[in-house]
């Protein structure tokens, strides 16, 4: 993340994330049908369609305000628990970042956003959730700002397959949640890969 991201960068991030969510919506829904209520892909696509529709207005804002706007749109439009969860993550990043943030600031804001997400979801890593992707990605960035986060996120999402769900709808399944990738972990990994692709591109 550059010190003063041009509007073009925010617009490209929005486009890349919306494109990956749309391309994988059916896959996310299939994962959610296995262990949730089968709406994760639909919900995420609805949310990011709305974010994409506001792309130009959002991209004209300073980065902190743009992140807050994206988070609020997800809160209002997604319609499932992933709305407040992704919304809280992204809004908190916006609150924690000042304009002119450095990459180190961004990593710190990401950490604060993960803490806010833990509070919102009343969850910790190891419970088969999106935290099982976000926490290892954050740890890797703290250790090395140039870490290959897309690969780390993909491996972390795969690592949710043998986990037993303790939070969220999947927790009702108990042991039957074992053997399926967590849909929120998968969507987190897809979004991280899309963001990394733009920032590194």
């Amino acid at each position: 993340m550059t010190a003063a991201p041009p509007a073009d960068l925010i617009a490209r991030l929005i486009e890349a994330v919306a494109a990956t969510v749309t391309a994988h919506a059916d896959e996310l829904t299939a994962l959610d049908q296995a262990i949730g209520d089968g709406d994760h892909g639909l919900n995420m696509r609805r949310g990011f369609d709305a974010v994409l529709a506001e792309r130009d207005a959002t991209a004209a804002k300073p980065l902190p305000d743009a992140l807050k706007a994206i988070g609020m749109t997800l809160v209002m439009k997604v319609g499932g628990a992933s709305g407040p969860l992704y919304g809280t993550l992204i809004m908190t990043m916006g609150k924690e970042l000042a304009a002119g943030a450095t990459p180190a600031d961004a990593v710190r804001a990401f950490g604060a956003a993960i803490d806010a997400l833990k509070a919102r979801g009343k969850s910790e890593p190891g419970q088969k959730t999106m935290l099982d992707v976000l926490v290892p990605v954050h740890a890797a960035l703290v250790a090395d700002p140039r870490a290959d986060v897309a690969a780390i996120a993909a491996a972390a999402a795969d690592a949710t397959i043998p986990m037993k769900a303790i939070r969220g709808r999947a927790s009702f399944l108990g042991d039957r949640s074992i053997g399926h990738m967590d849909p929120g972990a998968r969507s987190s990994s897809l979004i991280i890969a899309a963001v990394a692709g733009v920032l590194e591109g």
Binding site: D39, G79, G80, A81, L85, T88, R120
Partner: protein, 129 residues
């Protein structure tokens, strides 16, 4: 009206409306009551904006107790509470209780003028400890 208000939040508009109908029939109209069900497209899900509107509709200076069904309804209700004006946030409680029985018992308790903490506690006594 000084009684605590009741808000019912379900993934299903029909469940939310039906639970509200039961509250009205069993408790009467002595408590402010509102419900939110379904996502913004009319499908199954919950809608933060609709939950905020329901809290507004059932608002009482004594506060509002929210009854929810599954996980996303709880998370979205907590998000809605956080987005309220600061002076209202502390007067809304999301109850850990079964949605239908919780709504009826909370409304019955509220109709007698009990404060929010008691309304919440009585509803939550329905949940396994």
């Amino acid at each position: 009206m000084a009684n605590v208000g009741i808000v019912i939040v379900s993934h299903s508009a029909k469940v939310a409306e039906g639970a509200a109908d039961m509250v009205r029939q069993m408790v009467g109209d002595q408590v402010p009551l509102a419900f939110a069900g379904g996502n913004a497209d009319g499908g199954l899900g919950t809608d933060v904006g609709a939950i905020m509107a329901a809290i507004e509709a059932a608002w009482s200076d004594a506060g509002v107790a929210i009854l929810v069904d599954l996980g996303g309804a709880e998370t979205n209700s907590e998000m809605a509470v956080e987005l309220l004006d600061e002076d209202r946030r502390g007067r809304v409680a999301v109850c850990n209780a079964p949605i239908v029985e919780g709504a009826v018992i909370a409304a019955a308790e509220a109709s007698g003028g009990s404060p929010l903490a008691v309304v919440k506690q009585v509803a939550e006594e329905l949940s396994p400890q």
